[in-house]
């Protein structure tokens, strides 16, 4: 590999665009011809690109933050236990410190009192970092949406990568969300305009922490991340 480019590939005579396909259906952009690749593998030579290797490593060691807010957390705990065994996906290493975590699973109702702390924990996580909003409350406020003390979805303060509906979602749903996130990570291109946020210079890795006002959070949402939906009713 030369010139320090992240997606430098081994030069082959194969046509470009023939991407390798992972067993779970995702595509790796190695640019190496699949036939040549398997032929080389038979001879004990493995070809890859830095991007592929980097994403493969990241996708299979997503360490979540130990962090539960309500009943969804019980399902999250169940997912990490023997029956559902999140360890199969490399995501069982729940870290007690945000400094060592890659993934924040917002599992449960985010009250307005708790929201500033959730945002602060996210800010303390190092890049690259991802957010899964687990359950109806974390997505939209759920049954408490029109109440006085529940945040109407964590997406108004944090960039959510995967949302899981359900009340609470089954552990299988959380596993599906982690697989979806793995696929997202595997398909990230490290160069070009679609590269992930942590490789974009000047892109924010921290988001403003809201303050507790007299009746509501101030500001009630981060306008850069979230805009209220426009109602069109006929």
């Amino acid at each position: 590999m030369a010139e320090g480019s992240a997606d430098m590939e081994m030069k082959t005579g194969a046509e470009p665009g023939s991407d390798a396909t992972m067993p779970n259906g995702s595509t790796l952009h190695s640019g190496v011809d699949e036939g040549l690749r398997s032929e080389l593998q038979k001879q004990g030579i493995y070809t890859t690109s830095l991007q592929e290797l980097y994403n493969w490593g990241r996708a299979n060691s997503v360490w979540p933050l130990t962090f539960g807010l309500a009943c969804c957390a019980i399902e999250m705990i169940a997912a990490s236990m023997a029956r559902f065994d999140l360890a199969r996906f490399g995501a069982e290493v729940f870290r007690p410190s945000p400094r060592q975590a890659d993934l924040m699973i917002v599992a449960g109702t985010v009250t307005k009192k708790m929201a500033p702390l959730v945002v602060r924990l996210y800010n303390q996580m190092p890049e690259p970092k991802y957010v899964i909003a687990m359950g109806a409350c974390a997505i939209s406020g759920g049954p408490f949406k029109q109440g006085y003390n529940v945040l109407k979805g964590i997406d108004r303060y944090l960039p959510v990568d995967v949302s899981i509906p359900g009340c609470p979602p089954r552990p299988e749903a959380l596993i599906h969300a982690i697989m979806t996130l793995q696929e997202k990570i595997l398909n990230q291109k490290l160069t070009g305009p679609e590269r992930p946020r942590h490789l974009v210079e000047g892109a924010p890795s921290e988001f403003p922490v809201p303050a507790c006002g007299e009746h509501d959070l101030e500001p009630p949402s981060n306008p850069e991340l979230w805009q209220p939906p426009i109602m069109t009713r006929k």
Partner: protein, 211 residues
């Protein structure tokens, strides 16, 4: 276990100056409660806890009730003299009952395995920090639940060791469980609004859609 009447009569001998009233209950269970004047409620509570026949050593639940001012209609028979003949006429008298706040305690006995006895106390008004008497000195387990009553109903419980908000944050204004609390108007799109949410939703529709 003793009936509320028996408890009341024994209480009146033990704590002579306590004003105790038995509140009726119309629901099928018909569980009546003892309404005690806040002035002597601490002595009443200590009696209920220490009395060998009652031994109500466990306070399982503390909650608040908000009673806003309401109009009470009463039918009163009034004697009237019309043309020298005395007649009894029914008159409908409307009075405004001032609002008040109530603290409710559910008491059980772990030792004698009976309960509940429902104990209530009332404030005199619905002011921002209407005073009542804390029973945390009698039942230590009341502490957090009385803080919740203070937080959500705004009843200042005198004698509480650490009276702060517990569910809402410290800078919060107002008491959300009171009937007249108005939450901030932050309605958002709801796919299937109904009842109060529908009313709220209609307020937020653009004017041309409303018609």
């Amino acid at each position: 276990m003793e009936t509320p009447e028996q408890i009341k009569s024994r209480l009146e001998t033990a704590v002579p100056d306590a004003k105790i009233e038995i509140l009726p209950n119309d629901c099928p269970v018909g569980e009546r409660s003892l309404l005690v004047d806040p002035v002597r409620i601490l002595a009443v509570a200590k009696f209920l806890r220490d009395d060998p026949q009652l031994r109500l050593d466990y306070c399982s639940n503390v909650t608040g009730v908000d009673w806003p001012a309401a109009e009470v209609t009463e039918k009163i028979k009034v004697k009237q003299v019309v043309n020298g003949v005395e007649n009894e006429i029914e008159e409908v008298k409307k009075t405004v009952r001032p609002g008040f706040l109530e603290v409710v305690y559910h008491l059980y006995s772990m030792e004698l395995k009976h309960g509940p006895v429902v104990l209530r106390q009332r404030t005199t008004n619905r002011d921002a920090e209407a005073p009542a008497i804390s029973l945390t000195p009698v039942w230590r387990g009341c502490e957090f639940q009385e803080r919740e009553v203070f937080d959500l109903f705004g009843i200042r419980l005198e004698g509480h060791p650490d009276l702060r908000r517990i569910l809402m944050w410290d800078g919060f204004k107002g008491f959300p469980m009171r009937r007249d609390y108005v939450a901030p108007d932050d309605f958002e799109y709801e796919p299937t609004p109904h009842d109060e949410v529908l009313e709220q939703a209609q307020k937020h529709y653009p004017p041309e859609v409303k018609a």
